[in-house]
C-alpha cells in the first residue's frame, strides 16, 4: 500500500474487479448506453409498490447480477460497502440486512460510487478483506422527494437543473485475476466556492472535480494523453465547460479525453434538463459501459471522477452554500503479467 504524494493511493497488489452488475430504469434504458446494462426496468416503480421499494429492487438486482457473473455467493463477501441518496442511506442499510455481509455504510452524495470502490480496493490491497462488494443506487423519485418536491408536483425544469438517474451499480473488488484492474485512487477534498443554488449543482461541483483531477495529475506525474478517457460523474452540460476552463487556466487541457457520465447516459432529446445526476449516474456508466469497454480492451486506462454535492434539503434554505467533493479512481485493462 503506498501513498503517492498527498492524496493518491497506488495499490501495491494487482486489484481487480471480479465482475460488475447494473440495473436501470426506463429512461436510462432508452438512452445512448442502452444495451450496456444487465437489467432494464420498464417502469419507474420496478414492479414494487412504492419508490423506496423500487430503489431497493434496483440495488438488489444489480448485486445479484454482479455475484452471478463473478460466480460467487453473498457468503463469499468479506465486506459490503454501499451508499445512496435516501435519508440515512436506508436503501443500502436494508440491502445489508438482507445479504448479511459485514457492512460499512458510506455517504459522499453522488461521489459515493467511487468512494466505495476506492475504499474497497484499499481494504483488499491492505489485506483486511479478500472480496469486497461495493454498491450504490439512486432513484429519480426518491431523490426528488428527498431534495426537491413531491414527484407529481408540477413546476418548470430549471435549465441548470439535473435529473437523477434511476439505477444501481455493484462491483466486486478482489485480488483474483479479472479483466479490469483498479490501479489508483485520488481522494478528494471538500471544496465550496460559494454556489448556493441547489438547482445548479454542475456549477457548484466543477471546482471540486477540477481540484481532484489537478491533484491526480500532480501526484501521478501523468498527462491527460496517458488516459483514453477521463469521465466526471454528473457535472452536466453546465459544469462540464466550467471544469475544462478551470483546468485550462492551470495549464491542464483535458478537452480531448473528457466526457461526463450525466451527458453520456441520456440523449439530448430526452427531457432531463442539463443532464443526469445521482450516485447511479457514474456507477451505471462505469460498471456498465466503461467496464465492458475496458474488459474488451477498446479503452485501456480510464480515470473516473465521481462528483458529489454534500447538501441536504435544509442547508440551501438556511443560506448555506454547497460543499462539494470528487473522488477519482483509475481503471485499466488487465494485462498479462500484472504484478
Amino acid at each position: 500500500m503506498s501513498k503517492v504524494r498527498k492524496q493518491t493511493w497506488r495499490f501495491d497488489h494487482p486489484i481487480y474487479l471480479a465482475a460488475t452488475g447494473t440495473a436501470v430504469g426506463p429512461l436510462e434504458a432508452r438512452g445512448p448506453l442502452s444495451g450496456n446494462f444487465d437489467k432494464a426496468y420498464n417502469s419507474l416503480n420496478c414492479g414494487e409498490k412504492d419508490w423506496i421499494e423500487a430503489e431497493r429492487a434496483l440495488m438488489r438486482r444489480a448485486i445479484s447480477y454482479c455475484l452471478a457473473k463473478a460466480g460467487k455467493q453473498e457468503g463469499d463477501m468479506d465486506l459490503f460497502l454501499a451508499g445512496d441518496l435516501t435519508d440515512q442511506t436506508v436503501t443500502s442499510n436494508f440491502i445489508a440486512k438482507e445479504n448479511r455481509v459485514p457492512f460499512i455504510g458510506m455517504f459522499g452524495a453522488c461521489s459515493t460510487s467511487m468512494e466505495t470502490l476506492a475504499a474497497g480496493a484499499q481494504l483488499v490491497d491492505s489485506g483486511y478483506a479478500d472480496n469486497v462488494l461495493c454498491a450504490v443506487s439512486s432513484h429519480n423519485a426518491t431523490a426528488e422527494r428527498q431534495f426537491r418536491n413531491p414527484t407529481e408536483y408540477g413546476g418548470p425544469l430549471n435549465l441548470t437543473q439535473t435529473f437523477t438517474v434511476t439505477g444501481a451499480g455493484a462491483a466486486i473488488v478482489t485480488k483474483e485475476r479479472g479483466k479490469v484492474r483498479v490501479c489508483e485512487a485520488t481522494i478528494g477534498r471538500v471544496i465550496d466556492w460559494g454556489i448556493g443554488d441547489p438547482n445548479n449543482l454542475g456549477s457548484a461541483m466543477a471546482p471540486a472535480a477540477a481540484d481532484t483531477i489537478w491533484t491526480h495529475f500532480q501526484d501521478t506525474g501523468r498527462v491527460p494523453d496517458d488516459y483514453d478517457l477521463i469521465v466526471t460523474g454528473d457535472l452536466s452540460s453546465v459544469g462540464t465547460p466550467i471544469l475544462k476552463e478551470l483546468l485550462i487556466e492551470k495549464g491542464l487541457d483535458i478537452s480531448n479525453v473528457h466526457q461526463d457520465c450525466g451527458l453520456m447516459i441520456y440523449s439530448s432529446d430526452q427531457p432531463v434538463g442539463a443532464g443526469g445526476s445521482g450516485c447511479a449516474c457514474s456507477a451505471v456508466v462505469t460498471y456498465g459501459y466503461l467496464y465492458k469497454r475496458l474488459a474488451e480492451g477498446s479503452l485501456k486506462r480510464v480515470l473516473v471522477v465521481a462528483t458529489g454535492a454534500l447538501l441536504n434539503k435544509a442547508t440551501p434554505k438556511q443560506k448555506d452554500t454547497i460543499p462539494c467533493i470528487a473522488h477519482g479512481v483509475v481503471l485499466e485493462t488487465a494485462k498479462e503479467g500484472d504484478q
Partner: protein, 149 residues
C-alpha cells in the same frame, strides 16, 4: 480568471444557460389562458344549465377545476403540463390543487394521519398562511378607513 474562489459565482455567469424569458411568458400565457378559458366555460355552463347566478357559480367552477387538476396529478399528466406551462399552470387554482394532491400521493405510504394529513399542506401551507394573514390585515385596514369616513 475562473480559478478565483471569492468571485466564482460572478465569473461563471458566461457559462450559464440563458433563460428564455419571452418563450416562458408565452407558454405561461397560453397554458394559464387555456385553464382560465376552461374555467369560464364551466361557469357559463353552470349558469345556463343549473340556474346559478354569476356570483354563486364561482364555487362549483373552482371545485370542477380542482377535481380535474387532482385527477390529472394522480394520472401523472399535470407535472408534464406544468413543465411546459410554468407559472401558467402554477398560479391558477389548479396549481394549488396539484401541490396538495402531489403531497398526498407522495406521503401515502406513511399512513393516513401521519403521512397524508401531516404533509398535505407542506407546499400549499405558505399560500394559506399568507392568504389568511393578508386577508386579516386588509380587513383591519378597511375597518379602520370605514370608521374614519
Amino acid at each position: 480568471m475562473l480559478n478565483d474562489p471569492k468571485n466564482y459565482s460572478e465569473n461563471i455567469k458566461p457559462f450559464q444557460p440563458k433563460i428564455p424569458y419571452f418563450m416562458n411568458c408565452l407558454k405561461a400565457f397560453l397554458v394559464g389562458g387555456f385553464i382560465c378559458l376552461a374555467g369560464q366555460c364551466f361557469q357559463t355552463l353552470y349558469i345556463s344549465l343549473f340556474h346559478f347566478t354569476k356570483q354563486t357559480a364561482g364555487d362549483p367552477t373552482a371545485a370542477t377545476l380542482i377535481l380535474i387538476s387532482s385527477l390529472m396529478t394522480g394520472f401523472g399528466f399535470y407535472d408534464k403540463l406544468a413543465r411546459f406551462g410554468g407559472a401558467g399552470s402554477i398560479v391558477p387554482v389548479t396549481g394549488f390543487a396539484n401541490s396538495i394532491t402531489s403531497a398526498a400521493l407522495e406521503h401515502k405510504n406513511e399512513g393516513v394521519v401521519l403521512g397524508i394529513a401531516t404533509n398535505l399542506f407542506s407546499l400549499a401551507g405558505a399560500v394559506i398562511v399568507f392568504g389568511v394573514v393578508s386577508a386579516a390585515v386588509l380587513g383591519m385596514i378597511r375597518l379602520f378607513i370605514e370608521q374614519i369616513f
